[in-house]
Amino acid sequence: MSFSLSTLAYKNIRRKFFRSMAISAAVMVVAATLFSVTTVMDSVETSLTRGTRRLGADVMVVPANSESKAMASLLAGEPSTFYMDRGIEEKIRKIQGVKKVAGQLYLKTSRYKCCDTGDMFIVGFEPEHDFTIAPWLAEGLKKPLAPKEAIMGRSVTAYIPGSSFQIYSELITVVGMLEATGMPFIDNALYLPIESFRGMVETTDNGTVNVFDKLNNEISTILVQTDTEFSPRRVAIFIESQIDGVKAIVSEDVAASVRRQLFTLLRSILSISVILWIMSILLISVVFSMIVNERQRELGLLRALGAKRTDIFRLIISEAAVLSLVGGIIGIGIGGTFLYMFREPIKAALNVPYMWPRPVNLVLLVLICLFLSFLTGTLAALYPAVKSMRMEPYAAIRGGE
């Protein structure tokens, strides 16, 4: 029959089950908080990075009075419409530092008014100029998008590629799907060539009306890609100074503004978590000091029977490490479950783009939180462990009497 110190550590943990669980619970709270906050931060960062990359534009030009509407659409996915003269597109094309220009036309649909799509955000784009949508098709198209063909964002669940829907008089077929971005604006919209709008007529009591007659010469947003030698901010200044009635939004600024708003909040929570973590270390350290005091004679006996100082150190540290890791694993599990179950309320509360971190990041976050959990116990038990291992066996035995 063999016997190891690990068995003794395991049995010691079981001996005072409630106390052991209380130590694990302290680590669990810290791990759950740290994991949730860092995951949300990483999620937002991932979404912003992917979203702005997906947008593909360095600068978004919108009507001057529609900046807040555009931001609400972009960040929260609130369908909104605003229009400006389509001729602006050509003017922007001629501005120094502008490399590519593509217009987009926004349309809100309503089940009761026009369409069988429900309340949907429709984005008309120009396939001949587009540099933002087609490159990011999850299921690559072998041919350019034809009129009356649409691509859908990843969160549109009503359709699958190959299905059709009715907008006013036109039957549109979904032919592709975009990758998920976490940007509600992109994930919840349907994209079709602007030309698809041309023939759409609305039947009213007074006959049929061409819905987009009035929009023929209008556009909602102009997306701009800048030359590498010009910074987007500089090009935005050129645009605003040369064209009246427009606002040039720099994509990086959108992400930066969200980061600023949200990360201030998350950093506060993270700071509280760090304080919580330090308090847990102190608390567990006190508990472990009590444990080793209580077991002083036992530790002295182990030394008398031949345990080395390092055996005593390993015994205490391994007990602390196991309890911490158990707490960490449960905490991460609870944090992950919480994030998954409440993802929609979290999205709504934060009002920012949000998607799960990439698997690599998620694994990294789990490992970091596990390591911090492990560190919590080992740091907390370090002083009591060192104190115990340094104790003279006879003094330890007598101290426990």
Partner: protein
Amino acid sequence: MLEIKGLHKNYKVGRDIIKAVDNVSFNVEKGDSIMIFGHSGSGKTTLLSIIGGLTKPDSGIIKYGDTELWSLTDNDLSGFRNRRINFIFQFSSLIPTLTVLENVILPTSFNKAADKHRGIDAKDLLFMVGLQDKLSAYPSQLSGGQQRRAAIARAFINNPEIILADEPTGDLDEETEAEMLALFRKMNVENGITFLIVTHNTDIASQCNKHFVMNRGILTPKDMG
């Protein structure tokens, strides 16, 4: 086998200095069975702890063969205790979280490199002390006497050269005490294990070949004639 020369150990209690061990010298031969009498507080347990490498003397020499005990590093001292010395303490010395069998084999876990066949089988030892039906019991499920017997069984597990026993039969009834003393004698005669026993119990005297009395830290030979 064991040479003890000029041992001193003082304790400071408040402003007073207590001489727990005062210039103790004696020799132990292999196979000796030595008894040390003495009142409580006379320094017997401290002396045993110094000889067992559990507490360092203020001065003096303890030599096991050619090895000067207190010149060993802490790791070597632990290994020395594990392989060559074992203890029977006067208090319940079982680890409460371990079963009786686990308590007995515990010393073997500290020396992985040791020859596992060198020692005596744990189950045989527990049979010898009459605890063969308590292998899986925890100390809290045993009487004081049974706990003492389990600790005695553990003392023999690594087949040590010397056993340092502090009131080894303290909790035992007369019958069990006689059985344990018989076991000591058997181990002494058949396995050549040396015993150094600290006790108040004069019944043990008959099976020891050397006798000492300890008083206020001073050890003097006693003729039991």
